[in-house]
């Protein structure tokens, strides 16, 4: 290795133009040839970001553009059919309720959990990972579990409430999970974990000396919370809120599994039914998806405007200023209660159902056996679905992480043109604003025709998955790069390491925790993926989420429950592996 003394003094930062060239562009002698040379240099310097724009642009925009062209064909006939259903106004209203409910409930619950999580006593600090546990339970499985618990007549919790001596409400209810309020509430609960992750990350980066200063100056705890803490964590609040709103608007699982029984419809289920009708109507599906796309793009844009320059929210005062929030034993109760209810209850319902020969809503331990698991093991399609899920999700993680790393690097480097970075940032964020079921319809339509015919192969799954995970793969690594700063990289470069060596031997090891956390989150999300997979899967390519849905449609609840538990185990194993590889910081970095 070269020594520091070998480095050229005043060596320009990578990507910066030499001073003489800059003077040339602005000085009186600015010729056409100089301008062309400057353009060529700029293009060469931006080769990687431009290539990224082309590839990411095709991945994200091609399916959406093709769908829109279909919707607009024949003078907008797709729009006429899509919005011609009698109850479309009610469908749109329910969709809005789903989005706004997810935003409000997700933010409130997520904020409370995040706030308490930083107040956990030292011995209970491990409980900070508990609110993330609901993510490990597949949404399809947890919604089926909630159905078993809260169905108005047969739900186990309803039966229990009705058996209480002071209850006098008749022989149905009191909870009806097939109605809009409960579907909104359960969807929001499922998204709370995401909001929690973002808010907790934001709170952890706060310099608590500022909080203590407020207290010392005489402000009351609530005043400190609203006047000092909340404004500082605004970026996390905005980002977490945007994610909750976007994911809520695009939610599909709860409305499909719980809503169709009593005619609760949202735009995403309409997309699904149009795309899967007797004669598939992609034009109408695309038309009905348009309001979701517009809302999604709008929220992504608004979020960028509200966040503005993220640097002004950095208050990091070094390690000693972190984790200094006051300890509060109530935190243990709050976090334990939430995690126990949201993650554990549906799991218990699934366990009880999976061990029963048939589900009558009542628990009879004498009939319990492992027969359903044995039957699953002997069902070739179920076993191959687990294999396909593992391969497709694993391959997608291996592809997404490097892509996310490169994109995070491009976004992090201020030497690249701001407009190009902005375009990449928007393209990366778009998949969050597009419901997965819409991407599924778009990918189905795009990849069954040239230039890339992937339908029928597992690779169409990998391409969909990588596209869906772009925001997560990039954002988490970008956050880690921002926390890391540039000093380590600069030290390596100044010491003579080339760019590749710097990345491989310095940057990547230092953000290992974040990489592990990203891998864990992406693996979890992909093994659960259902909405897009439902559309792009072929008859012979099945993944666990779609197999679970098929079992729910065509076979018994107990078998569905058994498959759901298998999915939880597979996911948990993947998360443990990712955390092991990423080190103890992996889950924190989530």
């Amino acid at each position: 290795m070269k020594s520091i003394s070998d480095a050229r003094p005043g060596a320009p930062r990578q990507g910066a133009q030499p001073v003489e060239e800059r003077r040339d562009e602005t000085g009186a002698g600015n010729t056409g040839a100089n301008r062309r040379r400057a353009w060529t240099r700029a293009l060469r310097r931006h080769a990687l970001p431009i290539a990224a724009i082309i590839v990411i642009g095709y991945l994200v925009l091609a399916p959406l553009v093709r769908l829109q062209l279909l919707a607009l064909a024949d003078g907008g006939a797709g729009y006429a059919r899509g919005f011609g259903t009698a109850d479309i106004a009610r469908t749109i209203t329910t969709t809005l309720l789903l989005g706004l409910g997810s935003l409000v409930i997700g933010l409130v619950f997520g904020a409370v959990l995040a706030w308490y999580s930083i107040q956990l006593p030292p011995r209970a600090r491990w409980m900070a990972t508990l609110p993330i546990l609901p993510i490990v339970v597949p949404p399809v499985a947890s919604m089926i579990g909630w159905g078993l618990l809260l169905a108005p007549n047969s739900g186990t919790i309803n039966r229990f409430i009705r058996s209480l001596p002071f209850y006098s409400g008749g022989d149905t209810g009191p909870i009806d999970v097939f109605t809009v309020p409960w579907i909104v509430f359960l969807t929001a609960l499922g998204l709370t974990s995401f909001v929690y992750v973002f808010l907790r990350a934001g709170l952890l980066r706060v310099n608590y000396e500022l909080v203590e200063a407020g207290r010392t100056a005489g402000d009351r705890p609530l005043g400190v919370f609203f006047r000092i803490l909340l404004p500082i964590v605004r970026p996390s609040l905005i980002y977490g809120g945007a994610v909750a709103l976007l994911l809520g608007l695009g939610q599909f699982t709860a409305p499909l599994l719980l809503g169709t029984i009593k005619n609760v419809k949202v735009l995403t289920t309409e997309v699904y039914f149009f795309a899967n009708a007797g004669l598939a109507d992609y034009g109408a599906a695309a038309a009905v998806a348009s309001p979701l796309l517009l809302a999604g793009f709008g929220i992504v844009a608004l979020q960028r405007v509200l966040l503005g320059e993220e640097q002004r929210f950095v208050t990091d005062g070094g390690k000693t200023s972190r984790y200094s929030a006051r300890r509060n034993p109530v935190a243990v109760i709050v976090i334990g209660l939430f995690s126990g209810t949201v993650a554990l209850l549906p799991l218990l319902a699934l366990i009880a159902a999976s061990l029963s020969p048939f589900w009558t809503g009542q628990i009879d331990v004498s009939t319990w056996s492992l027969d359903n698991f044995r039957e699953l093991w002997n069902t070739p399609s179920a076993v191959s679905a687990v294999e396909t899920s593992l391969i497709a999700s694993g391959a997608s993680v291996l592809v997404s992480l490097p892509i996310g790393y490169v994109l995070a690097d491009i976004l992090h480097r201020r030497s690249y043109d701001t407009r190009i970075r902005a375009i990449i940032d928007i393209l990366i964020s778009l998949p969050l604003g597009v419901p997965a079921v819409v991407f599924g319809a778009g990918f189905l339509f795009t990849y069954t025709a040239p230039p890339f015919v992937l339908y029928g192969t597992p690779w169409v799954l990998v391409v969909v998955y990588v596209t869906l995970m772009l925001p997560f793969a990039t954002r988490m690594q970008l956050a880690a790069r921002m926390s890391l700063g540039d000093s380590y990289q600069e030290a390596a470069r100044v010491s003579g390491a080339g760019p590749l060596r710097t990345h491989l031997q310095v940057v990547i090891p230092m953000i290992r925790g974040s990489l592990g956390g990203s891998a864990a989150l992406i693996f979890v999300l992909l093994t659960h993926e259902f909405a897009a997979s439902l559309l792009v899967r072929s008859t012979r390519t099945q993944v666990m989420g779609t197999t679970l849905y098929d079992l729910w449609l065509n076979v018994s609840y107990p078998l569905v429950a058994a498959m759901g538990l298998v999915m939880c185990l597979v996911t948990a194993a993947g998360v443990i592996l990712a955390v092991r590889l990423g080190g103890s910081k992996a889950l924190e970095s989530l």
Binding site: L59, S154, F178, G278, L279, V399, L454, N554
Partner: protein, 340 residues
Amino acid sequence: MAVLVAALLAACGGQAVTPGGGMSTAASTWDEVLKKASEEGTVSLYSALLPEVNKELEARFEKAYPDIDLRITRIVGPEVSAKLDAELKSGSLGADIVNHVNYEWAKSKADEGLFAEPIGPNGAGPEWKDTPYLIDGVLQTSALTALGIAWNTEKVTDPPTTYEGLADPKFGNGQLGLVDNLAAPMADMYTWLEDTYGPGYLAKLAELKPKFYPSAVPLQEALLSGEISIALWGASSTVKPIKESGGPIDWLMPDPGWAPPNLGYMFKESKNPNAAQVLFDFMASKDGQEALAKDNLSVLKNVSGAVEAPKDLTLLDLTRATKPGWLDSAQSEWKQIFGR
């Protein structure tokens, strides 16, 4: 990068369309077909039939033809048409035979000449050829699903024996389960109910505020759990095994009754055209019908294990079901009645 990799892999792994499958039907005898079928060794069926029926069919077929491996993929619901379209478009057709209820799609593809005619002794025999049960010479009425009234025996002790009896206020407040009108069979049944019991019948059902389920099995699960007490669209072949293992559920075939056919059709461009002919023929034979019609209804007479047909049995009206635009307008009317 992902797209380039995927494109390369698609180029390597993509499946080419094999036109015609190399079958010369004019010159072959049935023995030659059987011999070639054994050499092909496998046949793929996409089936909408209930799982127990598929299992029975596979067991009997592989016993009769041990050299041919029957692979059944169960697909229910209208999405099968979208999947088949995608497979045909991308040259990755995975089925040799499909058995389904996507009537509009099947009829339109039959008109386009996509399906092969049967040449076997059963499939092209006098009980099928030139009868209403082999439509256009290519669409076989392979099975008739025995659908009727199912109920939870702990909640209902005196079930009605006709569909008319379901429109009873005692089944109100979400006690009645109905199938959602998602495809042609459901649309046809609801239309038949209205034709049989008068224009106000469906409105009476709607007043009971029923719960809707996408197919027979979720309906049955809701019955078992006691979420609903009684259901239209109960399937005999799935109720019977649960009843036999002690589940609180029972079933009856009302009179007048209605049954939808499952249509079987062979693709000309299938990968195993001879094995497909053998399977198609088996499905038309007594042995095959005993598998397909176990706890169901058969178009053949005196099939052992089949449900006794009611005196007044109406089959799904295929001419009406496949008329362009009929399904859309029938579903719209139904949605208005039920407020969906």
